[in-house]
């Protein structure tokens, strides 16, 4: 799919229109006031990811875009300088699977809820966004949960921490994505409610039935729209349904599927479903058994977003290996490492580093897992994920190499604006204070330990019947 993007002039609401998406544009003119900065990052070791490593190199940013990469670039007037001598400059880290910055994750009341959109639940004030920045992560894929087979639409967000505006958090022009889920989560949910699906067979049926209905809906509208043009036509249009409308957009190729999955059999099943309905763009999420079907994934052009080494938290993830990412990469699958967690999103560079221990990936291969590859999975690779002229000025600047265990993020920059500066990291970075909160020391905040599956937040699962399915 070919997406064009909208350029926004700094400090003005004027838009240079490049896009054909007039509706989207209207929304942008109405609300977005994205701050874009100009900065010169001097004398760093630039890890471009796609074009190698450049020693003692400057990167010049104008109005949120990279305009020049080279040696000894003169400082233009009015441009702030960041001295990166002895530091490593990498593209801002991208997390292809997270749930931060959202007030709601699962509308788990029905097996099929493609009409819902997490963009409606964005909470720009969540401190987890700032914490992600403190780990060099500048873009994340805020996802619907995995309570149902076809969950809601997801939103690619840029970590523009500091705004109250939900619209500003959205990465403008990013393609639409949607969450699907296979296996224990949706079936456990179905068993609890006594609804479909309760087995892996049921999951396939539910998805096929939904796509078939969407196909009928799409065809009914196409027929109506053709007939409407005939003179003297009298007839009523099909009943509008936001649910079927959204599913039809998937069939048309306008929405990328991100499918929660673990087992090889269900991954093959989903590949077949996509093939039968002509769906080309799919990224499998988690994919713990991806290593078993890596060639099939590569052949189908499907992508994979995995954990570095997280396993054993439920039955379907026992057959796991820390070599998963490396095996997928070596088989030519576009692979990323994700966090699915407000804690792990802060150290994705460590997670990527593990692939050098387990699988011996090169620096660029390992860094790709948290930069250009997740960008490809979200359809934003022409904007972010590497340091190239023309791309968005999103960077993570490290003391020591980011893949080293001694790597420490110093700055996180989004659209040329410094959103995290370790030197200016105050104790209290909250944007909003509850006037009714109880102030007490020590303040115990909600634990973000990775002791639970965030994908099933807000829902109860019945896993008692696990061994029968």
């Amino acid at each position: 799919m070919n997406f064009k993007f909208t350029k926004i002039k700094v400090g003005s609401k004027q838009l240079a229109v490049v896009s054909a998406f007039t509706i989207l544009l209207f929304a942008l003119t109405a609300t977005a006031q994205i701050e874009r900065g100009s900065v010169l990052i001097k004398n760093g070791t630039v890890l471009t990811v796609t074009k190698g490593t450049l020693e003692q190199t400057d990167v010049l940013v104008r109005d949120g875009k990279i305009v020049q990469i080279g040696k000894s670039i003169a400082t233009p007037a009015g441009v702030n300088v960041i001295d990166a001598s002895g530091l490593f400059v990498m593209p801002g880290i991208i997390d292809a699977h997270s749930h931060i910055g959202l007030d709601a994750i699962n509308e788990g009341t029905n097996a099929i809820t493609p009409e819902v959109h997490v963009a409606d639940a964005i909470n720009p004030m969540q401190i987890s966004i700032y914490r992600a920045l403190a780990g060099g992560c500048t873009t994340s894929h805020a996802m619907h949960g995995s309570a149902n087979s076809i969950g809601g639409q997801c939103q690619t967000i840029k970590h523009r921490f500091g705004t109250f505006d939900q619209e500003t958090m959205k990465m403008e022009g990013a393609p639409r994505t949607i969450k699907f889920a296979l296996g224990e989560n949706p079936t456990g949910h179905g068993r609890r409610d006594g609804t479909q699906p309760q087995t892996r067979m049921g999951v396939e049926f539910v998805i096929r039935e939904a796509f078939s209905q969407a196909k009928e809906y799409k065809e009914a509208w196409e027929k109506y729209n053709t007939n409407k043009l005939v003179k003297g036509f009298r007839g009523t249009p099909p009943t509008y349904s936001l649910r079927l409308e959204t599913l039809a957009e998937i069939l048309k190729g306008n929405i990328i599927i991100h499918c929660h999955s673990y087992r090889a059999d269900e991954i093959n099943m989903m590949l077949n479903v996509c093939k039968d309905f002509g769906i080309k763009r799919i990224t499998f999420q988690h994919v713990n058994e991806g290593f078993k079907v890596a060639p099939e994934l590569a052949a189908a052009g499907a992508m994979a977003s995995v954990f570095s080494d997280w396993w054993q938290y439920k039955l379907e993830v026992y057959y796991s290996t820390a070599y998963n990412a490396a095996i997928l990469v070596k088989n030519g699958v576009v692979t990323s490492i994700n966090s699915d967690d407000a804690g792990m999103i802060r150290n994705l560079y460590h997670q990527a580093g593990k692939t050098q221990k387990y699988g011996g990936l090169s620096d660029d291969e390992a860094l790709s897992l948290i930069t250009i590859n997740p960008a490809k999975q979200l359809g934003i690779e022409n904007r972010v994920g590497s340091i190239e002229v023309g791309k968005d000025a999103d960077f993570a600047i490290f003391k020591n190499h980011p893949l080293s265990i001694y790597g420490v993020p110093q700055y996180s920059i989004v659209d040329g604006v410094v959103r995290f500066d370790r030197a200016k990291d105050a104790n209290d970075m909250r944007l909003w204070t509850d006037p009714k909160e109880t102030v007490d020391i020590p303040t115990i905040h909600k634990s973000y330990a990775h002791d639970k599956d965030n994908c099933v937040q807000d829902v109860e699962l019945d896993l008692s019947d696990l061994f029968n399915n």
Binding site: T109, T195, N427, W432, T433
Partner: protein, 569 residues
């Protein structure tokens, strides 16, 4: 708190009306004419008559001015040194609205496909069906000067149509000034069924609205030529949206919070309906957005409690048992924890200040706004208004937001908002300027009916009275669901009281959480659990011999009269 000034007369008047309905003649009211003489009349913000008279006749203001002839049949109220204002308008609340009894809400077979009722989608409902003229909340709000309110039904997603009512009147219909004033919505989900979360709610909202748009187009196409076209099915839910789609009726949202309000604005910008935002508490960062959206705004009269610095410190110190606090020396360096705590407290204080200054910010930005009593306790409202004024809201602006501006926003300027000839006789009369801390509301007129406030002192109880409460009491609470009777037992242990409540609709005996007796002023409280929720009941009463009488305030459901007598031993 108040009694009807000429209660006998008014009673007779009502009685007559009732009788007339049955075609029988009875006594006519003695008079419906009043004259407030020698008062300072604030006709509208910034427009004052230093010493004048207001004549009220047949529910309307008949004359206002410095030299007005008092009609011979008028009851004269000497209002020397008193202040007369137009009755206040509450732009958004549930005053007088009964909550329908909650049926046992079982989880439906398929939580993905609940009925519209279960999902909270009943836009065809009319708040008039739930009005209760004898709701105590009406009296509470009227006692502080409110005479009209826009009220909405209970519910979650699309509970129904609102109405603008008079805070007086005998029947539901008699109270209604404007019916179907707006369609009401809250962005809150249905428990356990679709749509349960904000993402489901937003999707369902868009889906319904677009379906309604399509249905409306189809129906008008069908109406223009029915031959050979299948009849479009009628749908009460979708049809309720038609006046909104036509921009003839606004959507009224309850929206306290910043993000919630921005979500309402997203829907507004997507779907283009006229918008009223009600009970807004966190609106100051998005004043520009609200302005661009052309939204009408009713700011909440509820404010976060002020932190009393000294009390808090003492309490906190008492609680930090591990660390024995030395007598404080000013030069002693503060510990990291103390510094952190101070910083957090500063942020909290700033947040409270922001909430308090919301009205001032809107005023400064030139956005007209009214007020909403939805989540405010009536007894806090005058003090909260004073806090807003102290935070920079000019008094005239505060008064405008209670009178002229809501009249304008709700399309009532020909009837309400100022003290002018021909307007409805809705008036507030105070002994000091309303925003003065010591001001007391002395009289309120609602459509020409007079309500006189008792002077407060008698109510407080006598601190020196000696009464004994130990033993068992039978209490009767007057609630909209009818009278309920309970047994309350008090025990004395040393100088402290304890007790329990049982009987009536309670299945078990419930211990009282606190009992206090100061002089003859009795208070006690307990918690009811209600479908997994806990509701606090607070009773305050005055004891006289073997009886007590007072108020029972039940969570957000309102406050009811309670009477009790001691059981014979």
């Amino acid at each position: 708190m108040q009694k009807n000034y000429f209660s006998m007369m008014v009673f007779l008047c009502f009685y007559c009306v009732q009788i007339w309905a049955q075609d029988e003649k009875e006594l006519a009211p003695v008079t419906r004419t009043y004259a407030l003489t020698n008062a300072r009349i604030i006709q509208a913000p910034g427009r004052m008559i230093e010493k004048g008279t207001v004549v009220i006749k047949d529910g309307l203001i008949q004359a206002v001015g410095a030299s007005v002839v008092v009609p011979s049949d008028a009851v004269i109220i000497k209002a020397d040194s008193m202040f007369v204002y137009a009755g206040f308008i509450d732009g958004f609340s549930r005053v007088g609205v009964t909550k329908p009894k909650e049926e046992q809400r079982e989880r439906p077979k398929d939580p993905g496909k609940p009925t519209n009722e279960r999902a909270g989608i009943t836009p065809q409902n009319d708040v008039r069906n739930f009005l209760n003229p004898s709701d105590k909340a009406i009296e509470d709000l009227r006692n502080i000067g409110f005479t009209a309110a826009q009220v909405v039904p209970h519910g979650n997603l699309l509970p129904g149509q609102s109405a603008i009512i008079s805070l007086g009147g005998r029947t539901a219909d008699a109270m209604v000034l404007v019916n179907n004033s707006a369609m009401y919505s809250e962005l809150s989900g249905a428990e356990g069924v679709y749509p349960a979360t904000i993402i489901g709610v937003m999707a369902k909202w868009r889906d319904l609205y677009r379906q309604a748009q399509a249905a409306k187009t189809n129906q008008s196409l069908y109406a223009s030529n029915r031959v050979g076209v299948e009849r479009p099915v009628s749908d009460r839910v979708l049809e309720s949206f038609y006046p909104v789609i036509d921009q003839r009726m606004p959507m009224l949202f309850k929206s306290e919070k910043l993000l919630e309000t921005q979500r309402v604005l997203m829907l507004k910008n997507d779907l283009k309906f006229p918008l009223i935002v009600g009970d807004l508490k966190e609106g100051w960062p998005i004043i520009g957005k609200l302005k661009n959206a052309g939204a009408k705004v009713f700011l909440s009269l509820d404010l976060p409690e002020e932190v009393k610095k000294d009390d808090k410190d003492k309490k906190a110190d008492a609680n930090s048992g591990t660390k024995k606090e030395e007598p404080k020396k000013e030069d002693k360096p503060k510990s990291a924890a103390e510094l952190e705590k101070a910083a957090l407290e500063k942020r909290k204080a700033d947040a409270i200040a922001n909430f308090t200054a919301q009205a001032a910010s809107f005023n400064k930005a030139g956005i007209p706004f009214g007020f909403s009593a939805m989540s405010a306790k009536p007894k806090d409202i005058p003090a909260n208004l004073r806090r807003m004024i102290a935070a920079g809201l000019p008094e005239d602006a505060a008064l405008a937001s209670l009178t002229t501006t809501p009249a304008q926003l709700l399309g009532l300027t020909d009837r309400l908002g100022t003290v002018d000839n021909g307007k409805m006789a809705n008036l507030v009369i105070t002994d000091k300027p309303y925003f003065n801390e010591k001001a007391k509301v002395r009289y309120v007129f609602v459509e020409g009916s007079l309500y006189k406030m008792e002077v407060k002192e008698t109510k407080k109880g006598d601190p020196n009275a000696k009464v004994e409460i130990q033993g068992s009491w039978s209490t009767t609470t007057d609630s909209p669901q009818g009278k309920s009777t309970n047994k309350v037992t008090f025990k004395k242990d040393g100088s402290n009281y304890s007790g329990s409540i049982s009987g009536g609709r309670l299945q078990n005996e419930i211990p009282l959480k606190s009992v206090t007796l100061e002089g003859n002023a009795l208070t006690y409280s307990y918690s009811l659990s209600f479908g997994g929720r806990s509701i606090d009941v607070e009773v305050s009463a005055t004891v006289e011999g073997d009886t007590f009488k007072g108020n029972s305030s039940v969570g957000q459901f309102g406050s009811f009269t309670i009477e009790a007598s001691k059981d014979p031993k």
